[in-house]
Structure formats: structure tokens, C-alpha cells
Symmetry: C2
Subunit: 516 residues, 2 copies
Amino acid sequence: MSEWTVEQRDRRGLLMMAAAAGVTLATPRLLRAAVDKAGSKFGGDLSAVHAAIDKQRPEAIKRLQSWIALPSIAAENRNMKEGCQMMIDLLKEAGFQTATMLPTDGQPGVFATLDAGARRTVGMYFMYDVKQFDPSEWSSPPLDAAIVDRPPFGKVMIGRGAINQKGPEATWLAALHALKAAGRKPPVNIVLVAEGEEEIGSPHFGQVVHRPEVLAALSKCHEVFMPFASQSPQGDVRVALGAKGLIEVELVASTQRWGRGAKDDIHSSYKAELDSAVWRMVKALSTLVSEDGNDPAIDGWFEHVKPLTERQKQIIAAEVAATQEADARKLLGVQHWVRDLSYRDALERLASQPTVNIEGMFAGYTGPGGKTVLPSKATAKLDMRLVPDQTAAEAEAKLKAHLAKRGYGDIEVKVTGGYDPTQTDESSPLIKASTSVYRAEGMPVSLSPRLAGSWPGYLFTGPPVALPAGHFGTGHGSRQHAPDEYYVIESGNPAVHGMAEATLSYVKHLYALAGA
Amino acid sequence: MSEWTVEQRDRRGLLMMAAAAGVTLATPRLLRAAVDKAGSKFGGDLSAVHAAIDKQRPEAIKRLQSWIALPSIAAENRNMKEGCQMMIDLLKEAGFQTATMLPTDGQPGVFATLDAGARRTVGMYFMYDVKQFDPSEWSSPPLDAAIVDRPPFGKVMIGRGAINQKGPEATWLAALHALKAAGRKPPVNIVLVAEGEEEIGSPHFGQVVHRPEVLAALSKCHEVFMPFASQSPQGDVRVALGAKGLIEVELVASTQRWGRGAKDDIHSSYKAELDSAVWRMVKALSTLVSEDGNDPAIDGWFEHVKPLTERQKQIIAAEVAATQEADARKLLGVQHWVRDLSYRDALERLASQPTVNIEGMFAGYTGPGGKTVLPSKATAKLDMRLVPDQTAAEAEAKLKAHLAKRGYGDIEVKVTGGYDPTQTDESSPLIKASTSVYRAEGMPVSLSPRLAGSWPGYLFTGPPVALPAGHFGTGHGSRQHAPDEYYVIESGNPAVHGMAEATLSYVKHLYALAGA
């Protein structure tokens, strides 16, 4: 996912991996038995489904490999039509009666429905695009989707999209295939929307979600779910109850827009008589945060910021109790939290505080040594995390007003992406049903009040859809956006699901949602 | 020259070109007659010298072409030994009895002497290196040194180093060749120092100048002169009475040195709990200048800054009277001087004010779109112009103290280059002799109190050498450091010298210095 907290997830994973080093591996057989036993609560006797999963295992793996072999990359306009068509084919093969390409001003989305004649309808969110990659950085070719041994994880598939997001999506589709092979109808109807621009910030996904027929279909749903392999390497299933929002903007200060200084770069000796666009940028940026750079200082920024609830603070306290601060610091490469806060205060800030971050900036000469130039332009890229009830639109307006009020109205503010924050109630059917499945399978659930990262879930949690939305599941994988992205096919740790076990878990999840 | 105000020079040139568009071209013959007549004052009857220059013209051009064909580029460590040897050969061929390679910690310099048994000894400064170039950007290959028609300038040689600095230097050497061919001894003894690192800021030239034998030789001199083709396209000879100093520094703020934030780049969602090296840089930079970015605000920066003298203000007033502000603004692409100053006040600032300029800065992600990263490092490249009596060493110490006092002592300050300012008295023999030659030749002299740019002349004007130093002459060329750098060989404007006329002018200049 474009922004879905790679490190945020990995952080807990790494922490727990550090804690669990040297765990004794149980045999897969023991795990299977546990899975079957737990299964009885969701869907009754799943032995036929289980057998189907076992039998279909080679074709499920092959299906995922074929999907990875066709990378759709919106940033490169690569295989977009083909990827959209493959998404449609994959859905139809899995039993969706309708699966339609929906054009947008950008890359097309998909709208699909599966009517099982069930009482309850579940909304689903898929993406068919993947992040860019450089094959030279991979130990196994990123489109080969080869299965290799990777202790302690077990046998993993290495490929672009393995965990983000084709692996978990293909595993969820395998659950539908298994149900069908076992002679069962899905226990829920399904409305699915997919996009091909998640990795560039979902700029046109609203055009898919807000189509009348899609809104009508989603209005029958009680939640929107995206499958993900969110188990840590130690086995706890991480369930986030929301995510921060995000607005990314590029600020450009230029002498041409300003009408001061020289309109082009000029010899730096002229600085004595000419204004500088770079100093203007530095001075303007400096007004956006507190003196230590840690609190937004944009006028009115905190107007709609809600404090953490007592329950959210409890969840954080539980996380603090479950992890070692020293390990956390070591894994992040950190000696001090901002203002030397305690670990708990730092985690509360992480969940609750909006941020203004400079993700990049550049001006003038950036090569080796020096070059005596007075630059005519300076650029800063900001990302600003938002918390409920801030919105991306509000943030943009406030930033612009703040700059204009201080005489920086000529500084260009280009919004390059934006998500509102999301929040899903812990007592919603989605969260209750999901966590009950994981707990019945014997897997601890790690709640977090809010991801510090962001995802397009706001299109579902915000109006007009306004549903609980979540993004989790069993299984494990990592290295999203990085070389050697992987997804566990056969787990080396009995506490962590491989692809087959995760398939069965999704079957149970469907039954759990059916009964929610 | 690395820093010798390309635009600064071009500015006046362009202004005057604009004023003189459509000038009627006189024939070279008329010019020659004028030159001869003027020549009688410096060196008596120069007809034999004149004839020698005419005769040697093809070989003088060929000598310059061969020199340009061998580019010595210190930044690329290209042809440095070969270039140093060629410099030595060129000096010996011109009559220097000694010309020795002097090793330094960087590229070698040259120390050469010509003992003519004369009463007076003149110090000379040469550089044998040139700026980097990209042949694909040139209309004529930069090492071919082809002579092409370039109206209104006339026949010009196009090549890297044509004006900066091989053309003027080869022209000055041609003067020695002509004297010899005419059976004359040079009217002065000559002590010459040359370097191969001017284009990278002369980092080791002090090691050449400060060798005991070089200091001893320079102690016999009354000035240090560097030939240059400083005529504007309209014919006035530009003579600067000094130059600003310069210190270039790279500031690096990093979490590793700071001991706060994450030691490597990390996902930007962590900004809520981690300090940012980029914000630290922005806040630190912001303390270095006034709110409008136009005055240095570094503690004690103005302690040794001398105001302009009344005479310097007069010279600037003369420049204001000679140029049109509207033309100046148009040519620089400027609508307003800082703080909407008058043209005269702007020019006074240009000559008198120290500056703190950001020539470049960069941090984090600088590609297209966004990337949600919290960078662990930020870099800013500053160039700071210095005026008498500031020194580069003082500036470095004050910058560091200023940062340390505000708690930014961990921000690395890497000095990448530094020159002290220079000042040469208008009544010094060098300036009086030089301007008398130009005026006798009928060419107006445009004085300026101080170049806003910088050059390594401080090694001559500062202790222990402490001599007047200057860098000017007749002839014209431009596009230093740029593609299609050129030097006028045959002038299309009778008011501007071509190479032969400039050679004769250097002969007279030697006689003028002999009698100074």
C-alpha cells in the first residue's frame, strides 16, 4: 500500500521477533489440528473445505505467481489495462457474478458483486497495482515469485506484490475457490471495489466508490474489509482501529511568482541587492512548526483534533506493557523520543498527534563542492499526518491561509495526495467478528488505536459510505515497497499461518461476518 | 576564474551593449593607427614591435589553440601534470629564465622568473586550469578553439579557457615574444606564480605563494597583475579596485551527530515521536539572516565591516549616471532591488554589504511526487561574501560560535572554500599606470570600488605579500564557465581590441609599469 506504514507494522514485528528468538517450532500437523478444532465455531465441519484447500494448493500458488508476473504500476503507466482485466478475471473465476471495469480520470477501477443469496453482505476493498521495483536489488527476480526457504519464516514467495497486496488478496480468493470445491455457497454476499492507483495515493478511487451503483451496493454492507497478512513473526494478529490521515504537499517558492529577486538563477554575488527565494522558503517553513520542530504551528491546526479516549490510552498502555522500550529504541535507531518523553507518552503522541514533516527539500546547487549561485526557486515536500476529526481539505485550506496571512501567499501549494483519517469502533461487527476468529484459533490479537500511517480507507469510513473498515488477517509477509518483498507460503513458526492456513482462516472469517 | 563574477562583468557589458546597439564599425586600420600614436608614450617608437606582433600573429593564435586543446581540470584530475608542464614550456618559450613546478598538497603550481636587468620588477598571477565542460552544449567543439564570425564582436575564438584565462594570458605572453622579435628586452623583471586549482577555489595556492623563495621574489615587486580582457563590448576598460571575499560552507544536520531522531531515514509516520534533522536545519538556517533574508544576522558579523568611503560612493554614483536602471533591471530579470532600494543604494549595497546566501540545499526525497520519509540528514550550502576588513577565518569562527550558542553545535560546518576580500588603492602605481595606458589609447576606464565576486587575489593583497593586485586589460571575451566561451581575435568594433591590439597594449602596459 502506498502509505500503509511499512515500518509501523515492522516495528512491532521486529520487537516481538526480538522477544521470541529461539521459539520452539511445532509441526504443521499440530497447527492444522488446532485450526480444524477452532473451525467448528465458524462454519461447522470444515473438513471438506480443508481438503479442498489442500487439493487446490498448487493452483492457488500458481494463480498468485501468474498475478505477480503481471505487475501493474500506475506511476509508470505499466500494464494498467492488462492488470485491470486480470483482476476482473480473478474475481469471476472465484465466483463473482459481475466484475466490471470502471473508468476514472486516471486508471480504471473494478466493481464486482457476488450474490450468494445470503442474509448479510460484506464490502471488500482490493488493489491490483504494485510499487515500482529495481530487479537488480532483488535476490530472487521480483516477477518470478519463486518460493524459497527463509528461516525463521519458512518457505516464502519472493516477488513484487507478494505481501502488498496480491498475496493476501489471492489467499482470500482461494477461500472462495475452496468453498466452491467443497460444495458450499459463500456464507455472505460480497460487494468488491478495486483500484489500480493505490500506490500513487488513490487519486481517483473516489470516482469509483462514489458511483451511484457502487454506493447503492455498498449501502447494503456493514463494513469494508481488506485482507492482509498482519501476523507478526511471533503470531499475534495486529488489528488497527483506524489510521491517521495524510496530506502531501509540495511548496514552491519562486522569484517569478513572488515578483522579487532575479527571475532566473543568477550569480550569488548579487545577493547583496536581490531577494532570495531560498531564504523566503526557509523563513516560511520555519513558521509551520514549533521551535523544536515537533508541533504543528499552522493557525488553527488543532481546532478539530480529538484527544485520545481512555480506552485508546488503555490499548497503548497494553502495548507498552508488551514491549521493551530499549528494544524499540534499538530497532528504530533512536536514543530519545521527542522532548525526552516516556515510552508511553511517545506512543500516545504517535497515535494522537498531527504532524508536519519535511519529507524532502531542494534548491539551487546540490552537487559536490560549491557553486556560487543565487537560486530562483526552492521546493519543499511536506507530509502532514492528520487525526480525527481533521480532514485533508481542511488541512490544505489552513496551510494556505497560514502562509497567506504571513505574506507568503505567492508560495505555491501543490497537493500531491491526501487521505482523511479513519476510525473504526472496537465494538463494530467487523472488529468483534474478526478478533473472535483469531482468538478462537489461539492467536493473540494486538490492538492499536490508530496506525500512524495512512490508507484510502477514509473513502469507506467517511461519508457517504460511513462504514467500519479494516485491513488485517492471518499470515505473515513484509518488505513492502522494498526489494525481496515476501509472503509466507509454508510457515516455519506454528503460531503463524502459511497460505493454506490463512485461506482456511478467511473461510472462517466469512462465516464470522455472516453471523455478526 | 572560479568565482570571478561572470555575471558581474557581463552585467555592465550587457548594459553597454544595449546602449550602443547599431554602432558603426571602423576599419581595423584606423584602430591600428590610433594604437600606434598612443604607443609613443609608453615604450617610444613601437613600430618594430607592432610589425613583430603582425608577423607572429599566426603562431600566437596557434599557441593559444594548442593550449586550449589540452584542458587541465582539477575537479576531474584531468591533464594536471601535462598542463603544468605546458605552462612551464609556455613561460620558458616567452623568455622566462626559470620556470619550476612547485608541488602542493593538491595540484602543482609554477614559479617563474624573468630577469631583464630592469630597475623594476612586476609580479604576475596565472592559472593553467579551466572549468569543466560538456561538449554537447557547444556550437563549436570546446577543444578545437576554432575562430568563427560572431557579430557584433567580430572573429572570435571559441573554446574552453578562451577568455578564462588562457586567451588573455597567451596574449600577454605574445607581448614578450614580440618584444624579443623586435630586439627589445622586457622593460621590467617579472616574477610569475601560476596555479592549477583556481577553478576549485585555489585551496593550495597559498602553499605556492608562501614558499620562502616565492615570498622573497615577490618582495621585490610593487604589484601583482593578472591579464584579462576586461573591455565591455562598447570599449570601456573595466578596472575593479578590489573584490569581496567569500567563504563557502556546507552545513550538515544529521540525527547521528545530533543524537536525536532515528539514525537512518525512517517512515514519516514516526515524526510524531521523533525529532527531525530537516526541521533542525530550517530552524538553524533561519537564525542566520534577517526576517527578509537580506541581512546577515550571525553574531558579530559586522564587527569589522568598513563602510564605503566617500570616493567609493562617488565611483558608484558615476556608474549610476552611466547606466539606465531600467536596462539593468531588465538584463538581470529583476523588478525590485531588496527593500525597494533606489538603484544607487542597491549598487552601494552590492559593493559594501556582506551576504549570507544559500546556494543550495537538499534533504530527503527530491524526486517526482512524494515519498513519506523522515530524513535523517539535511544539507545546506552557503556562500557568504565578505568585505574589508572581514576575513574568511573570522567568518568561519563566527558562524560556528553563532550556531553553538543556539544549541546547534552538532551541525557540521564544512568549509569548502574561502577567500579574504581584496582592496587595491586607486592611487597605487598599478592602477595609475594601467589606467593611463588605457586612457592614452582612447579607451574610457570604468572604475568600480569592488567586485561583488571574489578571486584569490587576497593571497597577494593580504599579508605577508601585501601588494596592490589587479586583474584587467584590453580586449573582450565572455561566457566564462558556460558553453561557447569566446575571446575576440579580430574585433568587429574599433573601440574594442582584438588579440593583436591587446598584445600591443600589454607591451605598453609593461613600459607603463616600468616607469611607475
